[in-house]
Symmetry: C2
Subunit: 172 residues, 2 copies
DNA sequence: TATTGTTATACTCTATAACTATA
DNA sequence: TATAGTTATAGAGTATAACAATA
């Protein structure tokens, strides 16, 4: 095994001039595919595409499912905390919560301790939706990782999380 | 070595309830970090942040550098081809080319074969900019991969490219 | 007919300032 | 004074339809 045409790039030399002739356009894309940001971007795009079409029946976008899962794992959290964990701005999360509320998946209970904030939670309908979503999600994850061995997939997560925690802690 | 608290997720079971208590918010983010799309999203965000700040002196956004690198590797290409390789729509690439042209980095030569299309190329100033950019890019790539061994970084690229080519070919 | 570049446009995503009510 | 939620708004990014020139 381990016999593919894998672009790898020496390391800090993101350049190449071989007639890679990849893609459908007949273009040499080699200039980009040893750059991490662009590789992540393209990979994310194809994964997103599968996600969107797979969750279309539930009318759930990725970020919405993210919110529901975080609320379920952290009942009673405040909007600010969920927004921060999702990596979006608080004002933008308000709109999202408005919709999730309107559709009956979440509820904002006024907190007793701090009456400025809400304690977020899932409604029974929200729980039911997440149950369905988790099934779709499992199928999605299996599908997008189909070309990876389980150990390779685990290694991928380890490497991605390592990059992320390495950069978000030490601020250059 | 290999002793970290690495979230890995069994596989198609992206669920967990341990008191992970990660991040600065004290929130259990475990619900998301075994989902590939969200992990890619967060990793991409921190890498993008470094990229943006590092290329600020050149006033170059990632997609613009991507265009310059593709044009350099594929001189004479048409706008449609570069746009497709970048994964953006042709109409949106027109605006981008307008700016790169205006700033003197690229030129659109009317093609002889097909007078509908342009043959794209870098100007000397464009070449000079790319030369500077490649230095910054090398520093950027080294910085964001600092937590990875060279072999781990290569493996990361292999896995990402494998996912992407696996999904973009077989259309579910 | 089909394709290249283009314009116009709309929709989403993202980011910031400023307000209110609480603390 | 500071913080949680909110409103308004502006800027990217992204997507589609339709047109003129050319094939």
């Amino acid at each position: 095994m381990m016999t593919r045409s894998e672009p790898q790039g020496p390391f800090p030399s993101p350049d190449k001039a071989e007639p890679d002739a990849a893609a459908s356009t007949g273009l040499n894309q080699g200039a980009l595919d040893s750059i991490l940001l662009f590789t992540l971007r393209k990979t994310q795009a194809v994964i997103m595409h599968d996600f969107i079409s797979r969750f279309d029946p539930l009318d759930l976008r990725p970020i919405q499912l993210g919110a529901l899962l975080l609320i379920r794992s952290n009942p009673g959290s405040r909007q600010s905390d969920i927004a921060a964990a999702l990596g979006i701005q608080r004002p933008n999360f308000v709109t999202m919560m408005d919709e999730l509320d309107r559709r009956g998946f979440t509820q904002r209970t006024t907190s007793n301790n701090d009456r400025r904030s809400y304690a977020l939670g899932l409604t029974p309908q929200g729980e039911a939706l997440v149950t369905k979503a988790l099934q779709l999600l499992a199928e999605h994850e299996t599908y997008v990782s189909a070309t990876l061995e389980p150990a390779e997939r685990r290694q991928l997560f380890v490497n991605l999380h390592r990059i992320e925690s390495g950069l978000s802690s030490g601020g250059r």
